[in-house]
Symmetry: C2
Subunit: 519 residues, 2 copies
Amino acid sequence: MKASERHIAEGILFTDQYQLTMAQLYFRMGMHEQPAQFDHFFRSYPDYGGHKAGYCINAGLAWLVDWMREVRFGPEEIELLRSQRGQAGQPLFADDFLQWLGREGTFEGLSLRAIPEGRVVHPDVPLTVVQGPLAMAQILESPLLNHLNYQSLIATKAARIRQAGRGQLLLEFGMRRGPAQGANAGARAALIGGADFSSNAGMSHVLGFSPKGTHAHSMVQAFMALGQGELGAFRAYAEVYPDDCLLLVDTMDTLDSGIPNAIKVFEELKRKGHEPLGIRLDSGDLAHLSVQAARMLSQAGFPKAQIVLSNQLDEFTLWQILSQIGQEAPQYGLEPDDVIERLVYGVGTRLITSEGCPALDGVYKLVGVQARGEWIPAIKVSETPAKVPNPGDKRAWRIYDRRGKATADLLGTAEEDPRRMKPLRLQHPSEQETYRILDPKEISHIEALFCDILRDGRQVYDFPSIEQIRELRRKDLDRLDTGVRRLLNPHLYHVSLTGRLWDLKQDLIRSAQEGAASE
Amino acid sequence: MKASERHIAEGILFTDQYQLTMAQLYFRMGMHEQPAQFDHFFRSYPDYGGHKAGYCINAGLAWLVDWMREVRFGPEEIELLRSQRGQAGQPLFADDFLQWLGREGTFEGLSLRAIPEGRVVHPDVPLTVVQGPLAMAQILESPLLNHLNYQSLIATKAARIRQAGRGQLLLEFGMRRGPAQGANAGARAALIGGADFSSNAGMSHVLGFSPKGTHAHSMVQAFMALGQGELGAFRAYAEVYPDDCLLLVDTMDTLDSGIPNAIKVFEELKRKGHEPLGIRLDSGDLAHLSVQAARMLSQAGFPKAQIVLSNQLDEFTLWQILSQIGQEAPQYGLEPDDVIERLVYGVGTRLITSEGCPALDGVYKLVGVQARGEWIPAIKVSETPAKVPNPGDKRAWRIYDRRGKATADLLGTAEEDPRRMKPLRLQHPSEQETYRILDPKEISHIEALFCDILRDGRQVYDFPSIEQIRELRRKDLDRLDTGVRRLLNPHLYHVSLTGRLWDLKQDLIRSAQEGAASE
């Protein structure tokens, strides 16, 4: 795409066509400036080929707000809309609507409440709540979901990979297989969710991180083609980067050529007073090769040299690799932990595409409209009770048990405060007979989850740094029960309703069904 | 991301860190301006959960070239690199290298040959060939793969979905679940590979398409909350869009409320002289509901009203839906084809994420370096013979049989012309004893696959429009054997080598192995 086209494709027209036709309909019906509320939430945890996650990590909010504050309907956008024709050849958008859009077509009238980035989040709990004029809140649907679904998906995958890797250094390597420019959002989300660093040079610099990397096979191949062999390539690398020497050892043969050549070069570096960093393994049986590499490097006097693993890694392959190291290392007289503590993971494709589950099912649902100064809750009936969104203006709370572990998220109406409800009744969101009663002494803390982000378009929130966001993620994961955090078959975390919200939901379902029947 | 950060994150630093450190190494060793050749190709067809595709559709080239021509190392990029420190706290990049990068750090010295977008392509055949100074050709690796892998992946998925949908109108609806800004590349690729239109407003306008859409549940909900019900919402829509009236009928109850209300409104429209467009089904048993909707709409006098289907569609769900319509339609006295011909598919998540296979394994491999004016082919040895890239400067040809169907792609050295080889021997790329001999009378046509795109940075190719690219796709798919085109268990298309290229490859493997052994 040319730069001259990008400002259109990435501006306020980065939305779905039907948002614009609905906005015109609201305008024509005089409803366009009627205050409305939309909730953004996801319905189910990512399901990685049959294995559902037990939690998600929230991400993407800061970039959404940056985008909302930068875009608007300018003359170019208005002209493009004016040019569009309907089936009968007539202009699809009328002049009066386009004039209104040119004048009022910004997100400056919207208020936004949200759960901060980095926090552990669960299905059906609103992550983002938008209030404001119906037409502009409607136009925001597609870009909001686009900004938030993908980053939360990738942050979640990164958290799982970090967990499987037992906290060893994790590098995001996904650009080459990432989704076009979306690779930048993917790198950011990976850094939020669990990656320590990224190989993405531009994005790392923008976010204040030092980009990381090793070298490619092509470097070794170039030296080989010019008659200098793998050893020549390694020597050149060591000469240019004596204090950052990390060598890729599988261009020819890992055990017979790569590691022995790397050790030769490391010995030369050591004699010159430099500490080599380590090696990278990018093919073959990574667990077996890790054990062999650890043994060979230690025997040669490099017991601290890192072993960077890459090649189709994710939480499941890491799990398998670490299990196999646990079995194989003792056969070679090594402590498994001594091998594992040297590992660094370079994770590309399967992180940036969320292998096994390439999309988060986030939705944006109308939950209320204001008429004559009063909020009227809205409902969408579904044949599956669990798919009926929770109506009206709500607040989200997190309940911590006596151990300080999160035990449930609770949704209530805006007027309710669960800190004053004793005992606290946690109602299942779609099954009337299922509820829990919590005695005050079982609760250590009840936390409000929402922060005000925008108030009538004005930013009232200081966006935290990536490092601060990661601190939230670490704190939340520590307060999650290990059963919920489990990578396979996690315990189901409870998301509950207050009794009053349950009653409101049931009343609305009933009257919607009666309304439909009598039409 | 703020606009002020975007030009860094999407500029020339949209690459992996190790490309920059390797470039400095080449600079230090005096190899940075040595001409090199890299081939871009993919190794295997996308594998959708155990079912491999039989072909891919090439896409992404025009945007890659736009990007290459726009980016360069400017003062800001140089300063960011200058600020980076190594492990020992020393600057990672030296002044002389940064000065060279500031002066020569563009892609203007590169030449590029490629198979055009829209063409059917196969594994191991170079899709893009880059020749030019080693350092800049190396830096291009990550952005090239990023631009081409994702668009080819999505174009391929779109072609498969179109095939499963028996050519009925296909709309791309993926923005909300798409990978951040990558959703724009996804929309373009979908339009190349098989989608007729997209709901993505900005991207459609940029590419000269009319964006398409219907309306959302939220519109019906808003009218319901304000006491006007589903019928009120439909009437409003028909009033504003009398000639483009397409109604979403599943907000309440599809058969008992949605379709009867839509029919009421369609009758009102008809009385005013307008032709309603149709309905959209977004939940439930889409095959069953399609048959019922077709029946109800036809009985009411709307035999041409479209039935738009959406909700987690891809090639496999469409296949199932069309099979089920084949079984159910006759039970209600309908011809299955009469139902199917009314269908339009809105495909979102599973298209834009390539459900089942979220990445294409495209790689970029050094195949030659020039020294003293002569090209020296480069090789990368692998324990898996099929993973050894084909060395040197090559040409790619497509052989058509007497029926005019493509029967094999053939790679040969730059000097060879298979049109002069009679009979033609097609050598398997990794198994010596496997080959085919084609008699001249079995061949109707031999086609050169590469086009020159850039010559020393100068564009020597007129990029075709999306419509022209689609024409290439349609033509190529028509010339593909139906066995290869099959969605499940396709026949394997042959990619072969000439005898001379086979010999070169074996010689290089042998001498690389001997070189490694003697080091």
